[in-house]
Symmetry: none
Subunit: 235 residues, 4 copies
DNA sequence: CATGAATGAGCGTTCATTCAT
DNA sequence: TATGAATGAACGCTCATTCAT
């Protein structure tokens, strides 16, 4: 997990701290600042996963991070901002991926181009997944709960994902790739199935060998959704 | 919702309260007891849905129920027990349905018998769904979060459902109904897709007309999972 | 001080507590409630006098009152409401007195009637002063400080007093009782002198014998300080 | 206000800082030191006036002054010392004026000399008032509150003023200038009236034209409010 | 020496739970 | 038995002060 957060923590800076800092970038102070931020993010993420965002207290976070209570508030206005900071890079990466794919799909005129676009999307999604396992687990744990307080950022991510997936489904529909189902329903079905399987995997439920997960899932989706006879598809 | 809870609340009695009460069953005191329990359950459910189980306080519940705070503890040991009481009848109904179906599947030797068993299962499931919409929404909101504290009963229900579904899938597999996927994966996929669509429906997301939901979903599942050519089935 | 607060504490009830209480008025619960409120008021007043309203913490108040911290909030929303509750009866008494006097002055057509009205006012003021010494001392200590937070009620009282005094001065002027000075200035001068002397008295500064205070002050106001032929005056 | 503080801030130096500083007096370092001290004093005074001394935090002061938090403690041990530094020059000026006047009164044997001494006193007082309006307003806001913590210096000034005024009144009494009132009472009356009017003026209450304030006040003090034949006096 | 990051005691407030009435 | 008052631990957050850079 250490590695998972290393970059993210330096991403969106808390806005209430003066942007002008003493000491050069990369200097001792800058290093300390980054380390503290990362430690708080790590501590927070671990605790959120174990107890749920709502239940975790600032006291627990700072204890886990090994810093003083007051220091938390130098880095984050409150728990909500910490969660925002945690999810911001993931949200951005996912939105990027959705946008890129939607663009490619829009521009593709032939089936091979379309499939290539989806394949690229899947590959990138796979990368994002592996780079953000803990975060995605947290998302899966909480994304349906009321998006109040500290869960605001999670709700935003859920909305973002639903939108992106709908855009993709619509694009696929335009190209006549789908069987005549309501695309809103098939989108939800795919998202639901995918999320549940990822959740099982991340929670160490027994889901078989991981290498088989992706092809199984893709086959399930395609053979369920794809229009026409179903022998031809190849992952 | 009123009706939804009427029976449930009288189901499993809190265990820390002497089961022997003064007054005859159905008498004035018994009636009062049932009414208050139901009011607390209703109030709790509504608040849990809006704010999440963790965030809701006993104060909020008793205020919503129009009951004194101290009285809460006469009926429930704590919030956890209230949630338990809420979910117990649903859990029982689902387990019943799973068991009945599994039994029927095990005893079925021919395809028609199998399909009949599944159909019965689906019909009963549909009933349960409509009789417990609020409760199921709460379940969907929270079932992946850490099952500590007040969420223990929700976690238990999740485990119960996964087990039941796995049993069913396994039974189907034994009968050679499924394409050669890891049944653990296809179970999760089906559960995930189903839950996500129900969630969307209960949350008033735009999922198209309800009448089309069930056939769409079944077709999606079957055409995705069912071995063989896919023209023959029609619900 | 005990007596000073006995009535006041039962005056304006905190508004956030349900007005319907169990138990009869005057019953044990009602007694307890009154006692607690009085204890908190006493403790608050004593501490405010010693340390200033802003500096006193809820912890100090509840410790002095000998009750649990959480109990404070059953009686008062915050420190500000406690101060409001403390000053409400005094404010009302003063406004009553001002209004009564202004009315009498307006209706008086002859000098004797006027003087009688002022005399009545002074007598009642004297009573109010003795019944509220601690409270008045607190008012004198803080009435010029910024009226934020807990001091809001004190600022309101100051405004109320200034208005009342101005009304009286204006009435006197209409009757041609005053030398041709700006009545706004003479009002302030009288208020300032009076307040400072009362403050000195309440703070146990050496201001001579109390019995001489009132006549001295009245003579000072009416005749001025200058030595000269002013034998005609009689209080 | 800028000018008002320019000199004062360089007055009494904080004692915990080595009085020997590197660099020559008036050199670059000395200049910086003086500038920062002045900026902190200005910021503090403005904030104290708006929020009250007790409520203002070091954070607010350094932010307003545009200085780092740590730097505050190089110039002042704490808020109390800042207030001391603010009031020291005013206190000194007032004491000087009182002493000078008392001395002159003591040495005067004739009425004209006495009146001249008082006149000199009044003129100097007027100057001090205009040179220290903000500071005097702060004094008037807080001088009756408990003189703990940051308010110690204000309390000291109040004591100093009372003493000086009493000395003056006593001197006047010795010369037989006053009507036979307790001089302690008349002193308080005069101080109270004066302070209240100045306070009204500085707070922009409606006190009429400023030019009329001083003569009105003097006349009020000397002649009282009573309507009558008191034409003989003229300041 | 200036800076602002770190510290932790302490504040106002909430809340689950107990208990007198 | 129903009530809501009492309790005090715990929470989120602030702030004076110290200290590394």
């Amino acid at each position: 997990m250490d590695k998972e957060l290393e970059d993210k923590a330096t991403g969106p800076k808390p806005r209430h701290v003066p942007s002008e800092r003493p000491g050069p970038v990369g200097g001792k102070r800058d290093q300390n600042r980054r380390r503290r931020t990362r430690e708080l993010c790590e501590a927070g993420l671990a605790l959120f996963l174990e107890h749920g965002t709502e239940s975790v207290t600032i006291d627990q976070i700072v204890e886990q991070a090994g810093i003083a209570k007051g220091s938390f508030y130098r880095y984050f206005k409150d728990k909500e901002e910490l969660v925002e900071t945690l999810f911001a890079p993931l949200q951005e990466a996912l939105e990027d991926n959705f946008n890129t794919c939607a663009q490619a799909v829009k521009e593709a005129s032939e089936l091979p181009g379309l499939l290539f676009a989806y394949q690229e999307f899947a590959i990138r999604l796979n990368d994002i997944f592996f780079e953000n396992r803990q975060l995605i687990l947290l998302y899966l744990q909480e994304n349906r709960a009321p998006a109040h307080g500290a869960r605001k950022a999670i709700g935003a991510l859920a909305v973002s994902i639903t939108k992106g997936a709908n855009a993709l489904t619509n694009a696929a529909e335009v190209h006549g790739l789908l069987r005549p189902f309501d695309p809103r329903v098939s989108t939800l079905a795919v998202i639901g199935a995918l999320e549940r399987i990822l959740f099982g995997f991340l929670r160490d439920e027994d889901v078989g060998e991981f290498e088989l997960l992706a092809p199984s899932l893709i086959s399930l989706i395609f053979d369920g959704l794809r229009f026409g006879d179903q022998d031809a598809h190849s992952t």
